[in-house]
Amino acid sequence: MSFSRRILRLHVNGQPREVLARDADTLLDVLREEVELTGTKRGCDLGTCGCCTVQIDGEPVLSCLTLAAEVEGKQITTVEGLRDGERFAPLQEAWAEAGASQCGFCTPGFLLAADRLLRDNASPSRDEIREALAGNLCRCTGYVKIIDAVERCAAEHRTFCAERGRPSTVSEQV
């Protein structure tokens, strides 16, 4: 048996990246092993925990269930792409200030899911936040401070994204 690989052309966090991958490789594997962005976490590899959540063209997906070969040419956003150079996204800062990370292993997945919500909704209710994060598991926090974090930075984060060319998906469709 051999494990032959071919070149894939990916767009990760606004940068073109050429990587070698097998057709069967998941986006999670390729991001972590080939692109060497290890911020995206593997909690289960089965689509059950949300730790591996990234965005494809602005929409959250589970990278452990996505084949890398399928997303060639699309825009991939990982936790490393939320910040703007030195400047962290308001969501990331709020996460720290609210105490929304304990072990932090679920954090990148939650951030990518929450970012999507906030680009569409600058003042979500706590229940709307719960809905948007329903696919992500956290075993440390009981979610209270996660919801606090999303709530407290909502408007600011939306503005931050809009100013940096990551507008809400709704307005993109219009």
């Binding site: 048996m1 909690g43 059950t48 072990c103 292993f105 956290c138 075993r139």
Partner: protein
């Protein structure tokens, strides 16, 4: 003059929180070494079998195959275990594979994909052995017990029998007796980061093991034993750890396997579990059968407690001896008990091992006791709050089993949670289907008796400060997300009068850190915190002397001032900035170093097992849950939880609340949805997050954490534990709320819809029968 502004009680983010939110934090799976191999484990498909031969010939055909490890090879049969009294684990079967899913062999390949493929191709020849799966069968005599250390020719691992006071007399005298029998399924820690490690054979012959562990020190000891190398030739390094909750506190077979493979191949070996392997490794909460009787007089005074537990240890000892004790001894609070009897039995079975999990040993017993008290209050027609308050253990007392009680905020917990939850307007007053319930608790702040009988302090902290003014703190207390690094930094900053961001905590490496017994038994804040304070105070005294040399004033007169300065009490005009004092202290001397250590006081009585449950202090809880139960579906929805916890002193309120909220969430999972389910052949049926149901954001209600501070006389700045005790009380709070809602008591936990429906059905039948008779 402006004094130092203490950070104690404020809300500040964990010092590593930007590492985590940036995605830059390094966990075990994120690490790589040049020339690294990938290992995969081959697991048993038999429930119990002797491994006769392992055949790697088909595996060797896989591209990039490098090597393998099989039973019988050097080191693979060496025993180890977290408790020196039951070291019954081996890296590989020697020669028996003890459960379906037990590790049998390993392969190492150049790539991860290759290793997976190779592992699938490994063949083994085994001889089936008669498996023991039910605890009651494990108590029968057998020719082939699972381990050689069992009692009386059975699979009984540990028996505890304790009696204090006149228990039989108490039950004879009693006006009211309540209690019952309860069954609890096994529970898994469910941390989001899978277990894993990387073993690196160093060119100088040393071995380094990088591992997601809660207790680097015990791992260090176990590696030395299995590898037959002196400890100083081994290094254990802990990267960021994605949660533990007790499930990363044992030294594990896979860590030994990785090290043995690294030694054999001379190359780094990475071994990361899949999620199902985390469940198969387990060491989670014991499946438990618990019987309880509680006696009281008609005034509501508790007279006695009589409890029996039978716990299913699975394949290995792990922390099980301690669990067996804790199932009884930790029921001695928060209530005054004039008599107490407990018997506990832990058995081995051919299932994944049980071990320590958040709230270790106290959780299932607590459900039984708090349910019995709820029944008691009903029979006596008193409010459940009043019954508990009436029987509260006072401060500065000793329990029957010689637990020393110092601080307690239990009454305040009761008062505050009663008020916040609106209890008086709701209890027994809501419409059918809606209910409110109370559950209380009591937990250790670290075990006073160390596992290894040595005179080494339980925690030691070193500090080093050089010309840059940064404060480097060395410790082996393991931050696994609970924030212990932040706690250490805070204690040192507080003792020295400097800003927290001067401090950098290196608590990850056995080569540099002094010994600390690690993150389990809720010991870190109390023990390592005290050690850190002492180390910080030692540095402060050096700085005081430097201030004296600079100013000609008395050293003892210098106190901590605002903005990192030292002021003299006699002369408010004398102000020495920290950096000036430091430069003077370093002159002709070199880096400032200091050490602080903590040893728990000698406690306890002179009877067998008296060490179990001894702690320098205890935490207290009173929780209320409000629920809605649908009598058609049996589904319970938790609407709101109020959780009051006495943590002594909240050093960092944000972190304390986080611990309480997380504990409550985890306990709610055990209460309603989480369970390890085994098939009749011993196979684990639900080894995934799809089938093992941890509450999601939409299943989890608002949790109001109520922080109660009793200012412990021996805790660091008054603090005691807040990370474990807060789990247990939520389960009976929910159970008692279900009773308030629909009038049934659940005797099986988790309280799934099926079980609630079954209980409702039984109640309906009983009522019909009663009507027919009347």
């Amino acid at each position: 003059m402006t004094r130092y502004q203490s950070t104690v009680g404020s809300r500040f983010p964990l010092i590593d929180s930007m590492e985590k939110t940036s995605g830059q934090g390094i966990y075990i799976e994120d690490m790589k070494f040049p020339g690294m191999l990938y290992a995969r484990l081959v697991r048993s498909t038999e429930t119990y079998a002797q491994v006769e031969e392992v055949d790697f010939s088909a595996a060797q055909e896989v591209e990039g195959y490098v090597d393998s490890l099989a039973p019988g090879e050097p080191g693979t049969g060496n025993t180890f275990g977290v408790l020196p009294i039951s070291e019954d684990e081996t890296p590989l079967p020697a020669p028996n594979a003890l459960y379906s899913g037990a590790i049998v062999a390993a392969v190492a390949c150049e790539s991860e994909v290759g290793a997976r493929e190779a592992a699938l191709r490994v063949q083994m020849r085994t001889k089936k052995l008669p498996a023991v799966l039910r605890p009651k069968d494990a108590l029968k005599e057998t020719d082939q017990p699972i381990h050689s250390n069992t009692i009386g020719g059975t699979n009984l691992h540990k028996a505890v029998d304790q009696e204090f006071g006149d228990v039989d007399g108490a039950f004879e005298q009693a006006d009211v007796v309540t209690g019952g029998e309860y069954v609890f399924d096994g529970i898994n820690h469910g941390f989001t980061e899978p277990i894993g490690c990387i073993a690196v054979p160093e060119p100088n012959g040393r071995m380094s093991l990088y591992s997601a562990t809660q207790v680097p020190h015990y791992l260090h000891r176990a590696l030395a034993k299995v590898l037959e190398m002196p400890m100083h030739r081994i290094r254990v390094y802990k990267p960021l750890v994605g949660g533990g909750f007790g499930g990363k506190s044992d030294p594990f077979p896979h860590e030994m396997v990785a090290a043995l493979l690294a030694r054999k191949t001379g190359r780094p070996v990475k071994l990361i579990f899949d999620r199902d392997e985390v469940f198969l490794n387990n060491h989670g909460r014991h499946p438990t059968e618990y019987k309880i009787r509680v006696a009281a007089d008609r005034e509501g005074r508790l007279l006695g407690l009589d409890a029996h537990s039978r716990i299913d240890g699975g394949a290995w000892g792990s922390f099980g001896v301690v669990t067996t004790y804790y199932n009884g001894v930790l029921s001695q609070g928060p209530y005054r008990l004039p008599s107490f009897r407990y018997s506990g039995r832990r058995v081995y079975t051919n299932k994944p091992a049980s071990g320590a999990m958040r709230g270790h040993g106290a959780v299932n017993a607590r459900y039984a006791l708090e349910t019995a008290l709820d029944e008691m209050a009903e029979k006596l027609q008193v409010d459940p709050f009043d019954l508990r308050a009436q029987n509260a253990l006072p401060a500065n007392t000793t329990t029957l089993n010689h637990l020393r009680i110092t601080s307690t905020g239990f009454l305040e917990c009761l008062e505050r949670v009663r008020e916040r939850s609106g209890w008086n307007e709701k209890f027994r007053k809501m419409p059918y289907g809606r209910g409110i319930g109370l559950g209380c608790g009591f937990y250790i702040s670290g075990s006073a008796l160390p596992i290894h009988r040595t005179r080494t302090p339980q925690s030691t902290v070193h500090i080093k400060i050089d010309v840059d003014g940064g404060v480097t703190i060395h410790s082996l207390a393991a931050d696994i997300g609970q924030g212990s690094d932040t706690m250490l930094a805070q204690c040192v900053a507080e003792a020295m009068g400097v800003r927290i961001d001067r401090c950098r905590v290196l608590a990850k490496d056995t080569d540099t850190a002094p010994i600390d017994l690690g993150s389990y038994s809720s010991r870190v804040t109390f023990m390592a915190g005290n050690a850190a304070l002492r180390a910080g105070e030692a540095i402060f005294r050096k700085l005081q002397r430097a201030c004296a040399r600079l100013t000609g004033k008395s050293a003892e007169g210098f106190v901590k001032g605002a903005d990192e300065t030292y002021l003299h009490l006699d002369d408010p005009g004398v102000v020495v900035p920290y950096m000036d004092a430091l430069r003077e202290a370093l002159a002709d001397n070199g880096a400032l170093i200091a050490k602080g250590a903590y040893i728990a006081p000698k406690l306890g009585g002179a009877f067998k097992g008296s060490g179990a449950g001894l702690s320098p202090s205890y935490s207290y809880q009173a929780f209320v849950a409000e629920v809605e139960v649908d009598p058609e579906t049996g589904f319970t929805r938790v609407d709101k939880i109020w959780a009051a916890h006495d943590c002594g002193k909240a050093l960092n309120r944000l972190a304390v609340e986080g611990q309480l909220e997380g504990s409550v969430h985890m306990g709610m999972g055990q209460a309603l949805t989480e369970q390890m389910v085994y098939l009749n052949n011993g196979q684990l049926r639900n080894a995934s997050f799809l089938d093992y149901k941890i509450p999601s954001p939409v299943d989890t209600p608002e949790i109001e954490a109520i922080v109660v501070e009793s200012n412990d006389p021996e805790g660091p700045l008054g603090a005691k534990e807040c990370g474990e005790g807060a789990l247990a009380p939520i389960i009976p709070a929910i159970g008692n709320a279900i009773y308030d809602a629909v009038g049934v008591r659940l005797h099986e936990v988790p309280m799934t819809p099926e079980r609630v429906l079954k209980a409702l059905e039984q109640k309906r039948k009983a009522e019909e029968k009663a009507r027919a008779h009347s």
